[in-house]
C-alpha cells in the first residue's frame, strides 16, 4: 500500500506513536484472551476476582459445554447453512448479474429497480409475515427456513453486476464468433474475470450467515437445528453464572471465523473498503 501522508519525522515521536497504537491493539485483542482464560478457569475460582494467571487450569467447562448442547451438531449446522447460502448467492448472483449486464430485454430498468428495492427493506419488516408464510407451508423449524431469505441477495447481485459491467464486451464478441452461446460466454469468459468480486461476496455471505441471529431466533425451535449464535444465547439462559461454560461456548463460536479471517484477511479488508458493507 502506498503512503500518502508522511510518517512522523522524529524517531522518538514515531516510537511513541507505535507504542500507543500497539497498546490500543492489545486492548482490542484483550477481550479474546480474557474469553479463553475464563473458559479454562475452574468454576470455583471465578467469584474470587479476576486473575490473569489461572490456578489449576481445566477443560471441564468444555466438557460441560459438550454435554449440555450438541456442539458438534450446532457447528455443523452453522457451517452447512453458511456454505449453502454462500454457494446459492454466488450462483444466483452471477447469473442475474450476467442478465442485467449482457442481455437486452424490456423492463430491465424496472426489474433491476425491484431487485434494489429488496435491498432497502430491513429484515425486521419481513420477520412476522415471512414467519407466517413458512408456518403455512409447514416449513418452519427446518434448514430450508434458515436458508430462505438468503438464497439470492440483491447486494451480491449489485456487487457482481458492477464487476461484470467492467468486463470488456469485445471478449464476448470474440467468443461468440468462435460459436459460443450465452452459457459458454458466462461460464468461460465472464465468471473467470469477476473472481475478485466473487471472492468478496463469498466473504460477506459467509460472515452474514455465520453470525445471523434474529432470523434463526424466530424460525428455529428444535435444539438439533440451532446455529451457533442461537446455541450461545441458549447457553446464556441455562448457565447464568457459569461464565466459564458460556465463555467456552464463545471460544468455539469465535475461533473458526477468526481462523477464516486470518487466511482471507486481505480479501476481507479490501472488499470492505470498496463496498463498505458490514
Amino acid at each position: 500500500m502506498r503512503d500518502k501522508t508522511r510518517g512522523a519525522s522524529l524517531p522518538l515521536g514515531r516510537a511513541l506513536l507505535w507504542i500507543a497504537v500497539a497498546l490500543g491493539a492489545a486492548v482490542m485483542l484483550f477481550p479474546f484472551l480474557w474469553t479463553v482464560i475464563t473458559s479454562i478457569t475452574p468454576q470455583g475460582n471465578l467469584s474470587g476476582g479476576p486473575s490473569l494467571f489461572v490456578k489449576d487450569p481445566t477443560l471441564s467447562a468444555y466438557a460441560e459445554l459438550f454435554e449440555s448442547i450438541p456442539v458438534g451438531r450446532i457447528v455443523a449446522n452453522s457451517l452447512a447453512i453458511a456454505v449453502a447460502s454462500t454457494l446459492l448467492q454466488l450462483v444466483t448472483g452471477s447469473m442475474a448479474a450476467y442478465a442485467f449486464s449482457r442481455l437486452a430485454f424490456k423492463g430491465k430498468q424496472f426489474v433491476f429497480g425491484c431487485y434494489l428495492a429488496t435491498l432497502m427493506i430491513p429484515l425486521q419488516v419481513l420477520v412476522a409475515p415471512l414467519f407466517m408464510m413458512l408456518t403455512r407451508m409447514h416449513l418452519n423449524d427446518t434448514y430450508f427456513a434458515l436458508l430462505a431469505p438468503n438464497i439470492a441477495s440483491a447486494f451480491g447481485i449489485f456487487l457482481l453486476k458492477q464487476a461484470v459491467d467492467g468486463v470488456p464486451k469485445e471478449l464476448d464478441e470474440a467468443a461468440r464468433l468462435d460459436g459460443a452461446g450465452h452459457l459458454r460466454i458466462f461460464g468461460r469468459v465472464v465468471v473467470p474475470l469477476v473472481k475478485p468480486a466473487m471472492a468478496a461476496l463469498t466473504v460477506f455471505a459467509f460472515m452474514e450467515s455465520w453470525n445471523s441471529f434474529l432470523w434463526p431466533l424466530v424460525v428455529i425451535r428444535s435444539p438439533e437445528l440451532m446455529t451457533l449464535p442461537l446455541g450461545l444465547s441458549y447457553l446464556q439462559g441455562q448457565f447464568t453464572t457459569d461464565w466459564n461454560i458460556v465463555m467456552a461456548g464463545s471460544v468455539v463460536s469465535i475461533l473458526p471465523i477468526v481462523v477464516v479471517y486470518l487466511f482471507a484477511q486481505k480479501h476481507i479488508i479490501a472488499g470492505m473498503a470498496h463496498t463498505g458493507l458490514k
Binding site: 453470525n211 450461545l232 458490514k278
Partner: protein, 301 residues
C-alpha cells in the same frame, strides 16, 4: 429471403432471447419475489389489521399506527435507540479516525496492527455480547475489578438502568472500530499526495495540514460512515437482546427489540408490522436528509 420468413426469424430470435433472460434471472427473481417482495407487501397489509397470528385478521385501518404514535412506549424505545446512536457514533468515528491516521503512517508491523483492530468486526455479535457482559459484570467482572484497583466508582453496568445503554455503546464501539478504521484508511489513501505536499510548501504545520486539508478531503468517507452507522444504529438488536434483554425493566429496550417482543412475545403481529414500517420510514427519512445535506459539507474531488 421473403418478408414473412425474416419476420418469423426475428420472432424466433426474440423468443430465444426471452428464454435466456428467464434462465439467467429466474434463480434470483423467484426467491427474491417469494421471500422478500411478497412478505414486504404482506407486512404492509398485516399492519392494517389486528392479528395474533392464529385467529383471523381484523381490519383496523390505520389504528395500529395511531396507537403506536400516541403510546409513550414507542417514544421510549425510539429515544433509547437515539441515545444509543448519539453515544455510539461519535465514539466509533473519533476512535476509528485516530487509528486510521496512525496506521496510515509507515509503522513497523502495520499490517498486523490493522488486522488486530479488525478482528472484532468478523466475530458474531452474540459471542461478543456475551464476552462484554462478562467483562462488565458488576460483581466479579474485569472492568469493575480494574476500576476498583484505581479507586474509581464501579457502576452496575447492564444491571443498572442508567448504565445499560452505555454498556451496549461501549461493546458496539469496540466491535465496529475496525470497520470504521478500514473505510477511513481507504479514504486517506485516496487523497492525492501532491495536495499534502503543496500545503507543506505553503508552510502549513502537521496539525493545520490535517484539519484544513486531510479532514475536509476525507469527507466522502466520513459521510459514508455516518450514513451506514445511522442505518445500522436504528436497527440495533443482537447486542441489546443478549447483553440486557432490553432491561432492566425496559430501560434499554430499542425499536427492533420492541418489534420482536410485540410479534413473538405478545402475539401482536399487526402492531409489530406497523412499528417496523414506522422504523423503516424513520431510517428512510434520516438517510434522505443526509443525502440532501451532503452538498453542504462533503467535498467530492
Amino acid at each position: 429471403m421473403t418478408d414473412t420468413a425474416r419476420k418469423a426469424g426475428r420472432r424466433r430470435a426474440a423468443l430465444k432471447n426471452a428464454l435466456w433472460v428467464l434462465v439467467f434471472l429466474a434463480p434470483s427473481a423467484v426467491p427474491l419475489l417469494v421471500f422478500k417482495l411478497a412478505p414486504m407487501f404482506a407486512s404492509a397489509w398485516v399492519s392494517l389489521h389486528k392479528w395474533n397470528m392464529i385467529s383471523p385478521m381484523e381490519w383496523v385501518g390505520l389504528g395500529n399506527y395511531a396507537d403506536l404514535l400516541t403510546s409513550g412506549n414507542t417514544w421510549e424505545v425510539f429515544s433509547h435507540t437515539l441515545l444509543y446512536i448519539l453515544g455510539y457514533l461519535p465514539l466509533v468515528y473519533a476512535g476509528g479516525l485516530l487509528i486510521a491516521v496512525a496506521l496510515n503512517q509507515k509503522l513497523k508491523a502495520r499490517g498486523f496492527l490493522r488486522a488486530a483492530y479488525f478482528v472484532p468486526v468478523v466475530t458474531s455479535w452474540v459471542a461478543v455480547a456475551l464476552v462484554w457482559q462478562w467483562l462488565l459484570n458488576p460483581s466479579n467482572g474485569l472492568v469493575n475489578h480494574l476500576l476498583g484497583l484505581v479507586g474509581l466508582p464501579q457502576p452496575g453496568w447492564w444491571t443498572d438502568p442508567t448504565w445499560a445503554i452505555p454498556s451496549v455503546i461501549l461493546a458496539s464501539a469496540w466491535k465496529d472500530l475496525g470497520f470504521v478504521m478500514v473505510i477511513l484508511l481507504a479514504g486517506l489513501q485516496a487523497i492525492p499526495q501532491e495536495i499534502q505536499e503543496a500545503a507543506t510548501v505553503d508552510g502549513a504545520g502537521r496539525w493545520r495540514r490535517f484539519w484544513s486539508v486531510t479532514f475536509p478531503l476525507l469527507s466522502p468517507s466520513t459521510f459514508f460512515v455516518v450514513v451506514i452507522s445511522l442505518i445500522n444504529g436504528f436497527q440495533v438488536f443482537d447486542q441489546v437482546y443478549v447483553m440486557t434483554g432490553g432491561g432492566p425493566s425496559g430501560a434499554s429496550q430499542v425499536a427492533v427489540g420492541r418489534i420482536y417482543d410485540l410479534a413473538f412475545r405478545y402475539g401482536e403481529a399487526g402492531t409489530a408490522s406497523a412499528l417496523s414500517w414506522i422504523l423503516f420510514a424513520v431510517i428512510l427519512a434520516v438517510t434522505a436528509v443526509q443525502m440532501r445535506g451532503q452538498k453542504k459539507w462533503v467535498n467530492y474531488a
